[in-house]
């Protein structure tokens, strides 16, 4: 057998094993691919390819891949059949993930802008420049990261800012994608992240998607449900959406609603449940309290009685909801009747559609409320579940707490007892941690783009693993003005010359994905680990090393925050009892820095019952869902939080919300009224604009647009338009038009009856194309609690090219 035949045999074995699993829903140990799926995380085949596990680099699903390496290069990718998340399958991005490493324009040297041009400098110079900027004005320095930071990377950045520089100026791009889900969980349960998990997708009878397009955004999860149907199971799929998408094509019901009216729909369901007696009285009386908002809004709100709740819902009759939302009254009744049935298991899914919303916290609250009110909670298949868009939005941002107000493990800088706990773990002198939260993302960038003498108190931002020049809303207001202010200094760590990197003053080349050790946390509370498998190109280095190297330089320059109360370096990494100078790059991999940072971070995870296992447990597993609790010498994960049958911390009752806002083990059912959005179409700007993703590309396309098959499959952005609107404008399919808002303008080709089909009066533009940045047009208005901007609705007009 030659090598090619060997590879073919391996591919056939993997495909046969996957076919068996898909056909039967079971794993056949007798089948299986020879090399990648041989059981242990690591294996070497007869062809010399060394296989090791890693989570996919892209979305928040958390699929595991097997990475095949030969000759220092990744040469093959396979779905990891041992991974519960994806059971050996991958989406089109996942099986091309390794090609993201090999774009021809990887950044390989530090670059400093001199006389307008980026010119190579040494790492020694680069670290010195960053440290000098911080030393000049520590209060004006901010770190801007992302949900693509690994857990140790985010933890290092968090510690540098909160424990070292102590100005709390750190926020992530995840503020732009899931902050409203966080505030929704906090205000409802008193603690963040979903109670359920992906197992719910295997057990639900009804899957209700709220402004969610998982067929493109989380395809492996969606196929889990579609597969059940193809095996003859009865699963009802309902798409609540503002435009028809690929998901709609799989659903029995597609209910198109007017932008922002999802609050009215949720209230309409609750109204019918209450008025017709379909709510779960026993569940509500045992486990819930009612809440209404205050002015200004808070996560605690104000108590209300059931009678007041019922009265507040009274106006949301099916007919009134139809008027507001455009969804037929009979369909509102259909949804309420489903929730009223105890014999069904109902899972709700949502992602950016509910989160990127000026009422994001409110709609999150209301969807949780519908589940609580109807008792569709706490049994497998009965779950309100938010999905994330980034691989570690949960693990790094929400759990490590890399937000302006957060500390690791769900602690808050504003709470004295939390600061004391953190100071104890970090061995800091009392009072080191600043009680005042830093600026949230929009505010941080606004201040960076404002002259210092006009209140622009942020003068240096260090960006790691994200592309704010393309992902911030209204970029001409938030990002680009800073580039014309000489006192502002932008540092960017990245792997490619992104739009942000090319606008930076200092560029630091980074290692990515399996070029470094890492840990992610996915959407279902699953913490995942991988090892470095190939070397980064040129002089590219780990982001975590960059942070520690800067911290050490600050230490050496005398910054008092870089020492703990015993005078030790803040990032003291030891081996055999001796400190290892990991700030020196040649020494960085003398010891597993990730492991040591993670073990320190683990101490924080017990405060909110988000317990993590020792690092070594994650080396063995394809991820574990927290809380992971040791029992009888074994570490056991938790699939269903707050449910006595599975959660070791919920032992007082069948359901126990043990971090309850009201301190009585009860969750909160909120009432929030429907209100119009801050900007709606009018005579001058008559269209709604919605933005989002497509299957082939991820975020701003900086990786996927460098993967030729993906780039060829979807080469550029476009504007989806209804045929009648195109006809009225005299626009043909493919014709380039200008999409204009009050903030910006962009020229794009029109796609009529394309992949997505918006209703009349609505446009959709994906944001993956760096060369066609739709975020010049979007609105920075944001939710008052989560501070998450609304990328899903603003008013625009369309002009034919050349028209006045």
């Amino acid at each position: 057998m030659d090598r090619r035949e060997f590879l073919k045999a391996g591919a056939m074995a993997a495909a046969t094993a996957a076919a068996y699993r898909l056909a039967t829903g079971e794993h056949d140990a007798a089948l299986g691919a020879p090399a990648p799926a041989a059981g242990a995380a690591t294996a070497t085949g007869n062809d010399g390819i060394r296989w090791d596990k890693a989570p996919c680099r892209f979305c928040g699903t958390g699929c595991h891949v097997q990475v095949g390496v030969r000759g220092g290069k990744v040469v093959a990718i396979a779905g990891d059949e041992k991974a519960e998340v994806n059971k050996g399958l991958l989406c089109v991005k996942g099986y091309h993930v390794a090609l993201a490493l090999y774009g021809k324009d990887r950044l390989t040297r530090p670059l400093l802008r001199k006389n307008g041009k980026l010119e190579p400098i040494s790492w020694e110079q680069a670290i010195e420049i960053v440290a000098d900027r911080i030393m000049q004005n520590p209060a004006g320095f901010a770190f801007y990261g992302s949900g693509q930071w690994t857990i140790p990377e985010g933890y290092a950045a968090q510690k540098l800012i909160k424990a070292g520089i102590a100005n709390n100026q750190i926020d992530p791009n995840a503020r732009l994608c899931m902050a409203s889900a966080v505030t929704g969980f906090l205000s409802t349960y008193g603690v963040d992240e979903p109670a359920g998990c992906y197992d719910d997708l295997d057990a639900c009878n009804v899957l209700l998607m709220w402004g969610n397009n998982p067929a493109e955004m989380h395809p492996v999860l969606f196929s889990r449900v579609v597969d059940r149907r193809s095996r003859g199971e009865d699963v009802l799929l309902i798409d609540l959406t503002t435009r028809r998408t690929r998901t709609s094509g799989f659903c029995q019901h597609t209910l198109i609603f007017k932008p922002n009216s999802d609050l009215a729909i949720a209230n309409g369901i609750a109204h019918l449940l209450v008025e017709r007696g379909g709510y779960d009285k026993a569940f509500v009386e045992a486990y819930c309290n009612f809440r209404q908002r205050t002015e200004p809004p808070t996560l605690d709100g104000k108590a209300m009685s059931f009678a007041e709740y019922r009265q507040a819902l009274a106006e949301y009759t099916p007919e009134r909801v139809e008027e507001i939302s455009g969804v037929a009254a009979k369909d509102i009744r259909m949804l309420a009747e489903l929730f009223a049935r105890r014999d069904l298991r109902i899972t709700s899914l949502w992602c950016m559609g509910m989160n990127q919303h000026t009422r994001g916290t409110a709609i999150n609250d209301l969807v949780h409320g519908v589940h609580l009110l109807s008792g569709h909670f706490g049994r497998p298949g009965d779950a309100p579940t938010s999905l994330t868009g980034q691989p570690s939005a949960c693990g790094t941002v929400r759990e490590v707490g890399t937000l302006a107000h957060g500390l690791p493990g769900g602690l808050l800088v504003a709470k004295e007892e939390h600061r004391k706990e953190a100071e104890a773990i970090w061995n800091l002198p009392p009072g080191r941690i600043n009680a005042k939260p830093g600026h949230h993302t929009v505010e941080m960038w606004k201040r960076f783009s404002t002259p210092k003498d006009k209140g622009g108190d942020i003068d240096t931002i260090w960006v790691q693993v994200t592309n704010p020049a393309r992902s911030l809303p209204n970029a001409d207001a938030l990002f680009y003005p800073s580039r014309k202010l000489p006192e502002k200094f932008l540092i960017v760590s990245d792997v490619y010359p992104t739009a942000t990197a090319m606008a930076a003053d200092l560029v630091l080349p980074s290692a990515m994905w399996v070029e470094k050790n890492g840990m992610f946390g996915n959407s279902e509370r699953r913490t995942q680990q991988w090892f470095k498998q190939v070397a980064p190109p040129g002089e590219a280095r780990d982001d975590c090393w960059q942070t520690i190297a800067v911290a050490r330089r600050l230490h050496d320059k005398g910054h008092p925050g870089m020492k703990d109360k015993d005078g030790d370096f803040l990032f003291r990494i030891v081996k055999d009892g001796k400190e290892v100078p990991v700030w020196q790059w040649p020494r960085y991999y003398d010891v597993n820095v990730d492991e040591q940072l993670f073990e320190e971070y683990r101490k924080f995870t017990r405060f909110k019952h988000k317990d993590l296992a020792p690092y070594g447990e994650y080396v063995k597993a394809r991820g574990l869902r927290w809380p992971v609790v040791e029992k009888d010498g074994a570490w056991r994960e938790t699939r269903f939080r707050f449910a006595k049958f599975d959660d070791p911390y919920a032992q007082k009752a069948e359901i126990q919300f043990y971090h309850s806002v009201t301190k009585d083990d009860r969750a909160l059912i909120w009432f929030h009224p429907y209100e119009p959005p801050p900007e709606t179409p009018d005579a001058e700007y008559p269209f709604w604009l919605c933005t989002g993703r497509v299957l082939e590309h991820w975020h701003t396309g900086t990786m996927t647009m460098r993967i030729p098959p993906l780039m060829k499959a979807m080469p550029q952005a476009y504007v989806e338009m209804h045929r009648d609107d195109a006809k009225a404008l005299g626009v043909r399919d493919g014709e380039v038009v200008a999409v204009e808002s009050r903030r910006g303008r962009l020229e794009l080709p029109v796609w009529i009856d394309g992949r997505g089909q918006p209703p009349k009066g609505t446009l959709f533009v994906p944001f993956f194309d760096e060369s066609l940045p739709i975020n010049l047009v979007t609105l920075e208005a944001h939710d008052p609690l989560s501070k998450q901007p609304d990328y899903k609705k603003c008013a625009v007009r369309v002009r034919r090219k050349g028209a006045a």
Binding site: R4, L7, K8, G10, A11, M12, A14, A15, T16, A18, A19, Y20, L22, A23, T24, A33, P36, G68, R70, K73, V75, A76, I77, A78, G79, G88, L89, L90, V92, Y95, H96, A98, L99, Y102, G103, K104, S223, V226, S230, R706, I707, P708, P709, L710, K712, A713
Partner: protein
């Protein structure tokens, strides 16, 4: 020349399934495995990763094919593709 492991989900109707199988069997780029109910394991060979992705799309359009899942891809020999150019 990338090699991909695929699972093709065929239509539940036996006649449609048989017709699809016959058509797939004629495609020289494909090696068919033993079906498990409606799931057909397949190995696909293409000249480049881009061509492989196009093949998956094309297979998904065949009559009698419900869906195509990719479970593995080996692109070691796709050297030109890795540098951003189509390998031929």
């Amino acid at each position: 020349m990338p090699i991909s492991g695929l699972v093709i989900t065929l239509h539940e109707d036996p006649d449609a399934r048989a017709a699809a199988m016959a058509r797939l069997a004629e495609d020289p780029r494909l090696t068919l495995g033993r079906p498990v109910a409606e799931r057909l394991p397949v190995v696909a060979e293409s000249r480049s990763a881009g061509e492989g992705a196009a093949l998956v799309e094309e297979l998904g359009q065949h009559a009698g094919v419900v869906r195509v899942d990719v479970v593995s891809i080996d692109f070691e020999d796709d050297g030109d593709e890795l540098d951003g150019e189509e390998a031929v």
